[in-house]
């Protein structure tokens, strides 16, 4: 608990300033526990994913250079993509794992078990990944 802040009469300086908030978490609160760190990584996983789509838009913009001028991203793009892929997989794992908690699907007098929902979500992810990968490879062949 925080000690009460005293305000000496007439004394200028920081001690005289009233506190508008009783307590603020320190900026590094998320470094205290491994679970907090993983939580923060999950929350920030959206950043590399968004960055990757920005890079894809750079490729789209390069299409305006025409057939002779078009150059896809190379080299460093692979390194960036590996980081983005790790973030995307972490987002997928954490979010689909929560599907059983979030979703309530009525079944008879109860609900579909949470484990079944999570397994279906990951099954859908595998199928969709295969379909999208197949379409992209087919489109580039």
């Amino acid at each position: 608990m925080n000690a009460a802040v005293t305000h000496p009469d007439g004394a200028p300086g920081p001690a005289a300033r009233p506190r508008t908030h009783p307590y603020r978490q320190p900026f590094t609160w998320w470094l205290r526990r491994r679970g907090y760190v993983l939580y923060m990584i999950r929350e920030l996983s959206a950043l590399p994913i968004a960055v990757w789509w920005v890079l894809f838009l750079v490729e789209v913009a390069r299409l305006r250079s025409g057939p002779s001028g078009y150059q896809p991203l190379e080299g460093w793009f692979v390194a960036v993509s590996v980081v983005c892929l790790a973030a995307a997989l972490w987002h997928t794992y954490t979010f689909l794992s929560l599907a059983g908690l979030i979703m309530r699907i009525p079944l008879g007098e109860g609900n579909v078990p949470a484990k079944t929902i999570v397994r279906a979500a990951f099954g859908g992810f595998v199928v969709l990944t295969a379909v999208i990968a197949g379409l992209m490879i087919w489109g580039g062949a």
Partner: protein, 132 residues
């Protein structure tokens, strides 16, 4: 726009009843997060890792296949939806991360982050739908 969060830190006074704007923002987040969880890894793996390394072909490595794919309006709409979802996911999550790191200007941060997401989506729409 709802005024339920606009009174600032000092004068925060939630109104009774459901906050429909917050509900819509979280519903948008849930849908965007599911979509990105299901489709983003496949795009990044093929387009960002395997194809540049020469381990698999991908539609965006050659002008002819890239332009051909993007000439289909369904592909454009699909990509725009995925990109919009990704930017929205980024804006929504970053809004709360900034709050959790101690920045309490929730309305200003929210407007900034959703604004970035909206601007990015507008740029994506322009690039995708104005190709020669």
């Amino acid at each position: 726009m709802s005024t339920k969060e606009t009174t600032g830190e000092a004068g925060y006074a939630p109104r009774p009843g459901p906050n429909r704007l917050q509900g819509l923002l979280w519903a948008g987040f849930a849908n965007a997060a599911v979509l990105i969880a299901l489709v983003a890894p496949a795009h990044i793996l093929i387009q960002g890792v395997l194809a540049p390394l020469g381990l698999a072909p991908s539609f965006d490595r050659k002008y002819s296949t890239f332009a051909s794919a993007l000439s289909d309006p369904l592909v454009k709409i699909y990509l725009l939806v995925v990109i919009a979802a990704s930017f929205y996911l980024f804006g929504h999550r970053t809004r709360y991360v900034i709050h959790e790191l101690g920045v309490h200007g929730k309305l200003a941060v929210g407007l900034a982050m959703y604004g970035v997401a909206a601007a990015g989506t507008a740029v994506a729409a322009y690039l995708l739908f104005t190709l020669p």
